[in-house]
Structure formats: C-alpha cells, structure tokens
C-alpha cells in the first residue's frame, strides 16, 4: 500500500540508530502501514479492544513506578518491575517525548511475561503500532491477551 509522506518519514525515524539502537521495525520487511493494518485485523479477530489493553497496561505501569525500580505485586496476579534510565525518547510519529522506562509484567498464574516501554505503550495506544517482528519490544496480541487475562 502506498504510504503517505508522514508515514514514510516515520518509518525512517524507526530505523536503527535514529531514536534507539535497535530501531522499531526489527527484521520485518513489510512497510509500516502494512504492519499496523495486519495487527489491527488481528485485534478484531482476537476480539481485543486497543483502548482496553492500553488502559490495563497503563495501570500496571503506574503501579510499577511506585516501586522505584523494585518488583512490586499488583492485586496478587501480576509482578511488575519498572526500570528507569535518564533521558527522553521522541516518538517516531513526532507527537511527544517519552521517558526511558521499561516495564516487565509477569502474569503469575501462567508465568508469561510482557516487556514494553513508555514509548511502546504510547505507540500501541495512539497508533496501534506494536513494532516490527524481531524487535525486542514487539508485543504479540495473543501474548497481551494471555498476560492481561482477557
């Protein structure tokens, strides 16, 4: 699908070494808009709502921040650890600056984990972008469903 100039610019910002060392596209060869569209279709198939999962992840992130880099327990079902580093990362869509925080959520009953960052959460929420396959911060919707118990 032809990409508008804004998406082309954004895809360039997502290359390795521009914002993060790894970039946001992993080793995915698909164009950015295709990645987003495929994940949007997957979300409809799995019956997950973007706003809902973003809301849950935000909740876990907020709770995790209280721990000041220790692992905390959230309502008995999840362990959350937020690691904070100094500095800011710009969103590749040029709509905000985000802290360098990584959040590791463990779903205690299943043991499955989810790794995301303040920026990757924003990308999920506002742009329905879960990062390219092969990126260490890519979240698969099926994993999100399991970990959040949806």
């Amino acid at each position: 699908m032809k990409m508008s100039p804004e998406y082309k610019q954004t895809a360039l910002q997502m290359q390795p070494g521009i914002i993060t060392a790894e970039g946001f596209l992993g080793n995915d060869t698909r164009p950015l808009v295709d990645i987003i569209q495929a994940d949007e279709e997957q979300a409809t198939r799995l019956n997950v709502e973007w706003d809902k999962i973003a809301g849950h992840l935000q909740e876990l992130y907020k709770a995790g921040k209280q721990g000041q880099e220790r692992t905390i327990e959230f309502i008995g079902k999840w362990n959350v650890k937020v690691d904070e580093s100094r500095g800011l990362l710009p969103c590749p869509f040029k709509d905000g600056l985000f802290h360098k925080h990584t959040i590791l959520v463990t779903h205690k009953p299943s043991g499955k984990q989810l790794l995301f960052s303040e920026l990757s959460l924003h990308l999920l929420e506002k742009h329905h972008f879960l990062q390219g396959k092969g990126s260490s911060f890519r979240m698969e919707l099926s994993e999100i469903k399991t970990v959040l118990d949806l």
Partner: protein, 373 residues
Amino acid sequence: MSLSFLVAPFVVGAISAVMAVIISFIDMLVNNYGEVKLSINSGKRVITVKGGSSLLSSLARQNIFLPSACGGRATCGVCKIKVKSDVGPHLPTELPFLTKEEMRDKIRLSCQIKVKTNLELEIPQELFAIQKYSTAVTSIRNLTPDMREIKLSLKDPEQIDFKAGQYAQFIIPPYGKIKQETQRAYSIASGPGQNSELEFIVRLVPGGIATTYIFTLLKEGDTLDLVAPLGDFRLHGTNEDMLCIAGGSGMAPIKSILFDMSENKITRRNVYYFFGVATPKDLFYQKMFEDLEKKWPSFHFIPAIADVSTDSTWKGETGLVTAALENYLTAKIPKQNPKQAYLCGSPGMINASIKVLTSYNVNQADIYYDKFS
C-alpha cells in the same frame, strides 16, 4: 537510408541537456551561500563561517558548542539559541520544544536554522567555556553487572576546567547498523581538582545507542571525543545541611561534588548521602565512601538496599531510599537545621523524594536536581 529519423532523439536530447544546464546553474546560485558573518553578543565575538550548514554545526566548527543531546536531529530540544536577526517563522520541527515566551523572545533550535545570511546571535557566556576534547580510554571497570566505570585521559586539550556536578557529551561514532554520529550526556564523576583525567559511571540501558557502544565496543586504549563541560547542577549555599539522594549512575555528579568539597576542605557542613540500590549486588564504591566518612566526620554515607533477601548479613537501611530519608529526617537530623537537597536519578525517585522533603519543611527552592530529562 537517410539519418533524418535521428533528428527527433537529438532534438529531445538537446532540450533535456539545456534544461539540465539551467538547473545546475540555479543549483550553484541557490546553494552557494558564500561566507557569512555571525555576530555574537552584540559584537563581542564575530566569526566568519561558510554558509549552508546548520547554525549548530557552523558554531561547532568554530569551537563554540551549544548543548545537544541528539546531535542535531530535532529530537532533544536543548540546542536553543537567541537569534536576533530575522530568519523566518519557526519551523514545524522547532515548535514542540519552544514555549510561547521563548518564541516571542526569538529563541530558535540552532540545529534547524540554516546559515544563509549574516546573523546576530546571543549566547550565554558560560557556553564559551565548552570545548571538544579528544580523550583516550585508560580504564574500563565493571562495578556491577550493569554499571561501568570509565576513565578517560585528556589528550587534546590536555586539561579541563569544570565545576563539580557538570556533565560531558560523549560523541558516539557510527557503528554496526547505525550510520550516524550520536551524542549522549554523562555526568562527570571525578572532582575538578583532577583536571587531566575524567571518570564516568555509565549504566547499561537495554537497546541504548550509546551504552551499547560503551559496553560492547569501547576498549582500553580507544579514542573517544567529548564536548564539555555542560550543565548547571552544582553545589549551593554555605552551611546548610546537605541531603544527597542518588542511586546507580545518578551517583556521578554527587560523587564529584562531595570529593571536590573534601579536597577543598569544605567539610564543616553536615552531609547525608542516601544511596539507593535494588539488591546487594548493585552496591558499589562502598569502601570509597566509608573511607571518606573516616576523613570527614560530618559526612554520612547511607546506602539503602531495596531487596535484601539474598544477603542476610546486611545491617544498614532497607527498602526504598525515600524510606531511609524519612527515617533520618524524623529521628537523626535536627529539625531546626536549615536544609538543602541534591537529587539525581529517575523522575520517579526524584518526585517521591521531593514529596518527603517538602513534608519535612525543606523549601522547593532549596531542592536541586540534575535535569537530564
């Protein structure tokens, strides 16, 4: 067969060639900006540069360094400069980083301004002290699994003049898949008395451009360029009690300030350094600070380990560093003493600490923090 059929392609070719010549000529006119005069601080300093590059890089080539955490890509917003001349309206790339007052005040992002005509600029005096230094790595030592101590010896220039608490910008060259130079800021951990060798404490950030380079590629003997000194985090006041709160790599500017005080015999103030770490294996420089305590009676080193489950012999503070802070404010530090706080670390820790401090009547104006982000 006559060659008349060649006339057509020849004519088309000729037309294309003529057009190309005109375009090249215009390109030469348009992109040749010639020499441009930059007048700084009302003529206090006038430099002549070749036009066509960004203001940030044009100044850097003349050894005038504006702070830049992103190397000119309009993602950090720290390269602000006041441009008194008219260079057109603010570009969309500048808008996210400027307040309305700044825009009215003619503040621009120097990495987004192309130098085309003579300009009148205003640069704060302190920035003239910033220079580029070529250094050699003399020592790399792991302090904890994700913390490294780096010592750099200055080669050109050989000495640096800075204030304790300032930081340097490392210039990370292209490597691996990364094709452009990047700059990242790190606080200087050594004191200003040591002016030909600088120490840094670097934390490994997963996926970080600079730390990946530092942890996997940088070796002893390598050259590393940096721009320094920058920043306005420093010691204030005269005899107030000092409450320093920092964890991990946040220790660097605090260490610089404390060792500078010790060297210059500014040792009458009561100083409490709350060093928060997650687990016992994240503790480092313990002996160094315990030795400082011996030399400086009113200095107290208070490490706080959040999770001591792996070490049953720990007798010090446990839990969050803010809990240790509260402990001391309640029971060990006289309430009537005037106090100052120096914070360096993540926004979460800083906010939590400010909450505690203000509830114990420390004024916001007396709380200083390293504004890295």
